[in-house]
């Protein structure tokens, strides 16, 4: 290489440093100018310790269903949020702060939910969201705890006389856009060589209204959602949910990827609910159970002398007690929101505990 192209030694380096400093200064100024959108992403992505942030600001920002999905995320007439997803938000807040009211809810549409989590607008997404590979990898999220094992189904008007989803050839089907539901629908009809006419809405409320008005023959979404939407129809008894479940929809909480401390807090909050049910600890008897002789229970409730489970999670030692006091155990939460204690009256089914034939299973807490 010719000599003249060689880098000059020290003085040049000095100059480079100066340039670098100028460059940095200019960058800062321009950054201040550019502002808003891009910076929003920048600010949130720079930090990957949501737990500390949440502790610092004093509340959990929870993304929930914005279209009043009864049983999962809905507001009552007084504006209080209730539902299975809401209970997880409350459980996380109770675990961190010992106070289930330290949650702020962000109602989201199916379309807005992922950008909201990616941009850092919310800390966790508990919005009946299906855990799938692409969401776990491509979207940059982490899922672990499954709060509700669901599957996609169809609802039809009884007067159609349809008894099975396989009789829906040629039907118009109302569906919400940007959901796994929309993809499963296309796959199901193709694999059975059937045709259908999709009628796609962005907001669930509009899909409900269109189905109610007779725009579609069938409505498809997660079976749990169907039961909830059925109650909104003018005459719920005119509608029936078909027996076919055409997909696996494990609904769970999502957090941003590469933040395992926060993922731990969110998923173990759910596992605490499940473990509590398994141990037979309820909202009512939790204080009593603290005195239990069972070492598993004592450890779980933070009563074991030198247990560091809570501290290791970055939580107070009585985190599990606070969760159970706030929302009860998983079974209680289930029955209150979607089960026999609710208008939905959904059976436990797949969501029974593992030792009762279901899939809800908490890893050992030790």
């Amino acid at each position: 290489m010719p000599r003249r192209f060689r880098k000059t030694p020290t003085p040049g380096k000095q100059q480079n440093d100066n340039e670098q400093r100028l460059l940095n200064m200019a960058k800062t100024i321009v950054a201040a100018l550019v502002g808003a959108a891009v910076m929003g992403i920048g600010a949130s992505a720079a930090q990957a310790d949501t737990l500390s942030d949440v502790k610092a600001k004093g509340f959990v920002q929870c993304g929930v269903n914005g279209s009043n999905l009864a049983g999962f995320g809905a507001q009552d007439s007084a504006g209080n949020w209730a539902g299975l997803d809401i209970d997880l938000c409350k459980a996380v807040a109770a675990a961190i702060f010992g106070d289930a009211t330290k949650v702020k809810y962000t109602p989201l549409s199916a379309k807005d939910r992922f950008p909201a989590l990616q941009s850092g607008e919310i800390d966790m997404l508990a919005r009946n969201t299906t855990w799938s590979t692409s969401r776990d990898s491509q979207l940059g999220f982490d899922f672990r705890a499954v709060t509700y094992y669901d599957g996609q189904g169809f609802m039809v008007k009884k007067e159609l006389g349809v008894k099975s989803a396989l009789e829906l050839n040629g039907a118009s089907v109302c569906v919400q856009s940007g959901t796994t539901t929309e993809l499963n629908l296309a796959d199901y009809f193709r694999s059975h060589n059937m045709e259908f006419k999709p009628v796609v809405f962005e907001a669930q409320d509009e899909a409900d209204a269109a189905y109610n008005a007779g725009r579609c023959d069938a409505y498809t979404t997660d079976a749990s959602g169907l039961y909830s939407i059925r109650l909104k129809m003018t005459n719920p008894d005119d509608h029936m949910v078909l027996p076919e479940i055409i997909s696996k929809e494990p609904l769970g909480a999502a957090v941003r990827q590469n933040d395992s401390k926060w993922l731990d807090v969110v998923s173990w909050s759910h596992y605490a609910l499940v473990a509590a049910e398994e141990f037979g600890i309820t909202q009512a008897n939790v204080e009593e159970m603290k005195k239990s002789d069972n070492p598993d229970i004592k450890r779980f409730l933070g009563e074991e002398a030198d247990s560091t489970i809570g501290a290791d999670l970055g939580l107070p030692s009585d985190w599990a007690v606070q969760i159970i006091k706030a929302v009860g155990n998983y079974g209680e939460s289930f029955e209150r929101n979607v089960g026999q204690g609710s208008p939905l009256k959904i059976d436990r089914g797949l969501n029974a505990l593992w030792n009762k034939g279901g899939l809800q299973y908490a890893p050992p807490i030790r």
């Binding site: 200019a26 960058k27 321009v30 950054a31 100018l33 550019v34 891009v38 910076m39 992403i41 920048g42 992505a45 720079a46 199916a110 379309k111 992922f114 950008p115 990616q118 692409s134 969401r135 491509q138 979207l139 940059g140 007067e159 159609l160 829906l168 050839n169 040629g170 039907a171 118009s172 856009s177 940007g178 959901t179 929309e182 993809l183 629908l185 296309a186 796959d187 193709r190 259908f196 006419k197 999709p198 009628v199 796609v200 809405f201 962005e202 907001a203 509009e206 899909a207 209204a209 269109a210 008005a213 007779g214 725009r215 023959d217 941003r256 990827q257 590469n258």
Partner: protein, 402 residues
């Protein structure tokens, strides 16, 4: 500007220090502005890319080639769930253009009629037009869309009652239901191209004949019959060819299927709601623009045309409107652009326009930044092309000074 300044002083170099040299200063300012703009764009881009990478989100437009996996109800070009995201975007772009084009045509016609109607000496007509304008321009377009979709179209007969209707009237071919308007679809047989060619020939001949008639009127003062001859050329000629070829056209009639009507053509209520709402909403604004344009033409012009013996209709068409157009076209362009952009409200009623389908892709693929960039680019392009065309039209209509 800077360059001009430099030129005027070129013969006589300025006796000022470089610091105060206007030419140099303006160059420096422009260069600094340019650098700043490029810097801002580069910084925004690289910052976004970096942060997306840090958030473990994949970036780039490569995802457009992956399989879409979802179906689109309204597609005018071939599409299935196996097509790519890119194809889905094309389908949705066509849908946006269709509803915008239909809306612009209808809004212009309705707006013109209402605008002229508001100036009518007939009390009832002018008041009705006023009521129309005041109602439609004061309601947000989204509500107008919902009004048509849930308030009108959803209340049309259900598909079950249409099935019953078909049983009672086996010869019916045209149905209006809450699933859309069903009508026979034409199937063009062999040789139908000649009919279209004959129509083209007829149109060209009609234009030529009109030019000849105009020339003759100027030369002799007598106007040959134009309307009847032109109608014969445009309609009769293709009809004769059609008959001679043995009527190469059949229809695919809609018949009751298991859940919906099968066959035929259907205009979906989603399209109708959006189309009607956009047309009627924008027509209210266009009516006001038309009225302003007409009022902008001095009263003396109409009086002069009456004095020349023109009837009211002819006076409006030949004297007032051509002058009014000069006032109308620039604000009309804004209304067209508004209509195009308002078509993105389609998402509310599930019409598969660019925003609706883009939103689905955004959600399925997670590439929000890319999709939003595509949205912005497409709308900017459509709007710029529209306004380029309207500027050309405006220049053509502008007062030619002789």
């Amino acid at each position: 500007m800077a360059v001009a300044d430099a030129r005027t002083g070129s013969g006589d170099p300025p006796k000022v220090s470089l610091l105060y040299n206007p030419a140099l200063r303006s160059y420096v300012y422009q260069a600094a502005t340019l650098i700043l703009i490029v810097w801002v764009i580069w910084y925004a881009w690289s910052n976004a890319a970096q942060n997306l990478a840090r958030a473990n989100m994949t970036t780039g437009f490569g995802f457009l080639n992956s399989r879409a996996g979802f179906d689109i109800a309204q597609s005018l070009i071939a599409y299935s769930a196996d097509s790519t995201y890119f194809r889905a975007l094309q389908v949705s772009l066509v849908n946006t253009l269709v509803v915008a084009a239909c809306g612009i045509v209808t809004a212009t016609i309705v707006g013109l009629l209402i605008g002229i109607g508001r100036l009518s000496p007939n009390w009832l007509v002018s008041r009705l037009c006023t009521v129309y304008v005041e109602i439609f321009r004061n309601i947000p377009p989204l509500l107008v869309i919902f009004f048509w979709y849930l308030g009108v179209l959803a209340l049309l007969p259900s598909i079950r009652s249409i099935f019953q209707h078909v049983k009672d009237n086996p010869n019916a071919v045209f149905f209006i239901s809450n699933r859309g308007i069903y009508m026979p679809a034409p199937i063009f047989g062999e040789g139908f191209g000649y009919v279209i060619a004959a129509f083209g020939v007829g149109v060209v001949a009609a234009i030529a004949y009109t030019a000849w008639a105009n020339a003759r009127q100027r030369a002799t003062g007598q106007r040959p019959p134009v309307l009847n001859v032109n109608l014969a050329l445009v309609l009769l000629l293709p009809l004769v060819v059609f008959a001679l070829l043995g009527r190469p056209l059949s229809f695919d009639y809609p018949i009751p299927g298991s859940f919906n009507m099968r066959g035929g053509m259907v205009v979906a209520p989603e399209f109708l709601a959006l189309y009607l709402a956009l047309s009627l909403y924008t027509a209210a604004f266009i009516a006001e623009i038309v009225r302003a344009g007409i009022r902008g033409v001095p009263q003396g012009q109409s009086e002069a045309s009456y004095a020349l013996g023109l009837r009211a209709g002819l006076a409006t068409r030949l004297v007032v409107l051509p002058q009014a157009l000069r006032i109308i076209i620039p604000p009309l362009t804004s209304q067209y652009l508004n209509l195009i952009k308002n078509s993105s409200l389609a998402v509310a009623v599930g019409y598969a326009d660019l925003v609706a389908v883009g939103g689905t892709i955004l959600n399925q693929s997670g590439h929000s930044v890319e999709i939003i960039a595509i949205w912005m680019m497409v709308y900017v392009t459509i709007s710029l092309v529209t306004s380029l065309f309207m500027n050309w039209f405006n220049a053509k209509m502008a007062l030619v000074e002789r």
